[in-house]
């Protein structure tokens, strides 16, 4: 009787919520500590990568190619920081399940929490890099608008859901096709150039604008650029980004739900 009642107690909803919160927090803390334990430059590294890219691109495109985009470095940063989150998730997703093989084989827990904590980890890095973006905005004489108060959480929410979907999809598929990693890196590279990051959305000739909507990540990046660079969001792109986010969540969720029971057999 005692055992049954304690079991029932562990199953109550409020405890379950606390438990899931704790599971995410503990996994997050693990990712964080592992990432920073041996590199005291931890935070600097995550900011440095997009910064260096921004410098290279601005040298190349505004000095050599003479692309006419005002405040081009700021524009680059507005796209590169959120893109870094996208590409880190796509690459990281290959290992979300694979690198926890021993755990998956032995312990029963919600495996998708591994993906969620990985994505939240990237989200925290992204948020921590916002001061750098704001610094550049101030340098170019721009200031964050009041609309940030609702727009930043909204876009963060859209991106967390989208990245979780992407992570579940890639993470699950990678267990079954171990060379998916190569394909993913190719696709991420391809999508980078199909997304208006080094060029602007209005440079795209009319016949190709559909690419902005067909590219699963383009609308989201354009939204961030609208916020950091132009100052106002375009409802059409927010809606497109939200729709892609729903598509990824559904795809990732379905693939995961279909295959989660085979994880322990196959990792």
């Amino acid at each position: 009787m005692a055992i049954l009642s304690t079991f029932a107690a562990t199953q109550t909803r409020s405890r379950a919520l606390v438990y899931y919160r704790d599971l995410v927090l503990v996994l997050l803390a693990k990712e964080f500590k592992v990432r920073y334990k041996n590199t005291f430059m931890g935070y600097a590294w995550s900011v440095l990568h997009p910064l260096v890219l921004a410098l290279i691109f601005s040298l190349f495109f505004s000095v050599f190619v003479r692309l006419q985009v005002p405040d081009y470095t700021l524009y680059l940063m507005a796209g590169l920081f959120p893109w870094q989150w996208v590409s880190n998730t796509c690459f990281g997703a290959n290992g979300y399940f694979l690198s926890n093989a021993s755990l998956i084989k032995k312990v029963r827990f919600q495996r998708w929490m591994l993906v969620l904590s990985g994505v939240l980890n990237e989200a925290i890095h992204f948020v921590c890099s916002l001061p750098v973006v704001i610094g550049f905005m101030l340098y170019y004489g721009k200031t964050p608008e009041w609309n940030w108060l609702w727009a930043v959480p909204l876009l963060l929410g859209i991106q967390v859901v989208m990245m979780t979907g992407v992570g579940l999809f890639i993470g699950t598929c990678n267990l079954f096709f171990r060379d998916l990693e190569r394909l993913v890196s190719l696709l991420v590279q391809l999508l980078f150039y199909l997304t208006p990051i080094v060029y602007t959305a209005d440079m795209i000739p009319p016949g190709y604008t559909w690419l902005l909507y067909a590219n699963p990540f383009a609308a989201l990046i354009v939204c961030w650029q609208d916020l950091f660079y132009a100052g106002a969001l375009s409802p059409a792109f927010v809606a497109t980004a939200a729709a892609w986010s729903a598509v990824w969540a559904l795809m990732g969720g379905c693939v995961y739900a279909c295959k989660v029971w085979r994880f322990a057999e196959i990792v």
Binding site: V26, S102, V107, F109, L180, L183
Partner: protein, 251 residues
């Protein structure tokens, strides 16, 4: 009626499909498409476990013995809820705590203390519940001087000690032990067995997988003998261990 049953297996079978074509990767799949499809059709199921039924009563300690590949670990994974049976039904009542293999679930970059929290939560406790037990866990593991050092500096025996200490302090209703104790030194093993005796007295259900017939006969109420994925016999330890040894000699 379920009150005195902790684990119930009814007609449980588990079969794997060997030679799954996708394991080799996309490139392999595409380059060898015709032969891959053929092998997909012809692939044979491998029966890791066939029609296994038994009950474990609450507070009972049942050991699983048998040769390598007999199905002991598969049974344990099914009870842990990590695998799903192909056929049949596995029912468990209570919180299950698997005693992790050497290093599983631990992160070698993190300190012993951080790993206690990580593992405790992964095994089903909230952070608060783990923190309440941390002092006892460290005490039992005897790793005071090393608890704030990263796990990669630990010896394998120390990792096992930490793992066992975490598992036994989580107050599981059902404890699953998959022959990990062999790594610790004699003194720690003795301590582990004392702890297992303590669990028995407290009414914790235990499933113990081991090749060491000495410790099996010492700790178990009943022993289940597996061979080629079938449950051959289950019953009183002395009798089953004799049967196992006879089989080993005959083979």
């Amino acid at each position: 009626m379920y009150n005195d049953v902790a684990i119930r297996l009814r007609g449980v079978s588990k079969c794997y499909h060997l030679g799954s074509p996708v394991g080799e990767g996309i490139k392999h799949l595409i380059l060898h498409l015709p032969s891959q499809i053929k092998s997909l059709r012809q692939r044979r199921p491998f029966h890791a476990l066939t029609d296994v039924s038994f009950d474990v009563r609450r507070g009972e300690c049942v050991s699983l013995i048998g040769r390598n590949g007999a199905g002991k670990s598969t049974t344990l994974s099914l009870i842990a809820g990590v695998l799903r049976p192909s056929e049949g039904k596995v029912e468990t009542y209570g919180r299950i705590c698997p005693l992790l293999e050497l290093g599983a679930g631990f992160n070698h970059q993190l300190t012993g203390r951080e790993n206690i929290l990580l593992n405790g939560v992964l095994l089903g406790l909230t952070r608060r519940e783990v923190r309440q037990r941390t002092a006892q866990i460290i005490e039992f593991s005897e790793l005071h001087d090393f608890i704030d050092a990263p796990l990669r500096t630990y010896s394998s025996g120390m990792v096992v000690r930490l793992g066992f200490s975490v598992a036994v302090h989580l107050d599981p209703d059902i404890l699953l032990i998959d022959e990990v104790l062999a790594v610790g030194d004699a003194r720690f093993r003795t301590k582990c067995f004392e702890r297992m005796e303590h669990f028995r007295r407290r009414g914790t259900t235990m499933i113990f997988v081991s090749h060491d017939t000495g410790s099996v006969s010492r700790i178990s109420d009943r022993v289940a003998l597996f061979d080629s994925g079938r449950l051959v016999d289950i019953g009183e330890p002395g009798r089953i261990i004799d049967a196992y040894q006879q089989r080993s000699l005959a083979a």
